[in-house]
Amino acid sequence: MAHLLREKGFNTFVIVGGLTAWRKVGGNLESVPKNDLVKLPSFS
């Protein structure tokens, strides 16, 4: 995805280790807004 964004002209970087690495260095976090919590299909 980062590659695609770069092709479209965005100056893109990738955070090594993602959210896990961010947590490890004690970076600030916030709760994911409820609107972003899309329910996945369930058979129940």
Binding site: N11, I15, L19, A21, V32
Partner: protein
């Protein structure tokens, strides 16, 4: 072949059980080939048909049940792990779940014949809260079809297989060859995957500490952090990097319209 048959009689059931269990647990073992060989052994009266059938089905159901419960209790964590092995980890979970849901529960019946889905079907069933009795019933039908199909192929092509196997002296040699072939295929696949996606390495990578330092500087206004996890990674109470926005990997063309071009974009997933 004369030496192979007694060995098959002694270890055939254990081999069938071990290989099928490993395959159903997600390891790259050639279960279908093992079943074909077992079918030929049944035709040669080296193994008994019903015990082979029951052994194979039991191994598949055991492995699938373990995957089901792992999926049920770990939620999307197990699927995230399995998806890391896929071509596109960012969308793997969501696409797998939607595909599975759209095709319906009967997907389980054919899942073992479809590469990719066979590994994901059991943990997906667990994650998507399918009732265990229903899962077991459908998985039993699917396993039965799978085992009978490949045993029949081996049974009906016994003569061809016997000619192929006559140069092998022991079952262990056959097993070694099967394992080596599977590993070579898997390694080739991974190398091809690596070469195909090597171009993506041109994207600069930054350490979390570097970004944190930049956010603390006067330059922080030129930073936009973007969460590119698929919905599948989100559970109630999930967190994200403070101030980040989310873009949906499956809808990239529309999502990028909202991205600022005058800022540096920092992407992250799990």
């Amino acid at each position: 072949m004369n030496e192979l048959l007694p060995m098959m009689a002694r270890h055939g059931y254990a081999l069938v059980f071990g290989i099928l269990l490993a395959e159903s647990l997600g390891f790259p073992f050639p279960a279908s080939i093992a079943l074909v060989v077992a079918g030929a052994a049944v035709a040669a009266h080296t193994l008994l048909g019903v015990p082979v059938l029951l052994t194979a089905i039991f191994a598949l159901l055991l492995g699938d049940a373990i995957q089901y419960w792992l999926g049920r209790y770990t939620g999307w964590a197990l699927l995230a792990f399995l998806c890391r092995l896929s071509m596109n980890p960012e969308t793997c979970i969501l696409r797998s779940a939607e595909s599975f849901y759209k095709r319906g529960k009967m997907t389980l019946v054919i899942a073992k014949f479809v590469p990719g889905i066979n590994t994901m079907a059991a943990p997906l069933s667990g994650s998507m809260k399918m009732r265990f009795n229903q899962f077991l019933s459908l998985d039993f039908v699917g396993s039965l079809l799978y085992v009978i199909t490949y045993l029949s192929i081996g049974y009906l092509s016994r003569d061809v297989l016997a000619a192929t196997l006559k140069n092998f002296h022991t079952v262990s040699q056959v097993l070694q060859v099967l394992v080596v072939v599977a590993l070579v295929i898997y390694a080739t696949y991974r190398v091809m995957q690596f070469r195909k996606y090597r171009q993506y390495d041109v994207v600069p990578r930054v350490q979390a500490q570097e970004l944190e330092a930049r956010l603390a500087s006067d330059d922080s206004t030129r930073v936009q952090i973007v969460d590119v996890r698929s919905h599948g990674y989100y559970d109630i109470g999930a967190e994200r990097i403070f101030g980040s926005i989310r873009i949906e990997p499956n809808n990239l063309d529309e999502e990028i319209k909202t991205l600022p071009k005058d800022k540096d974009i920092y992407l992250y997933c799990t």
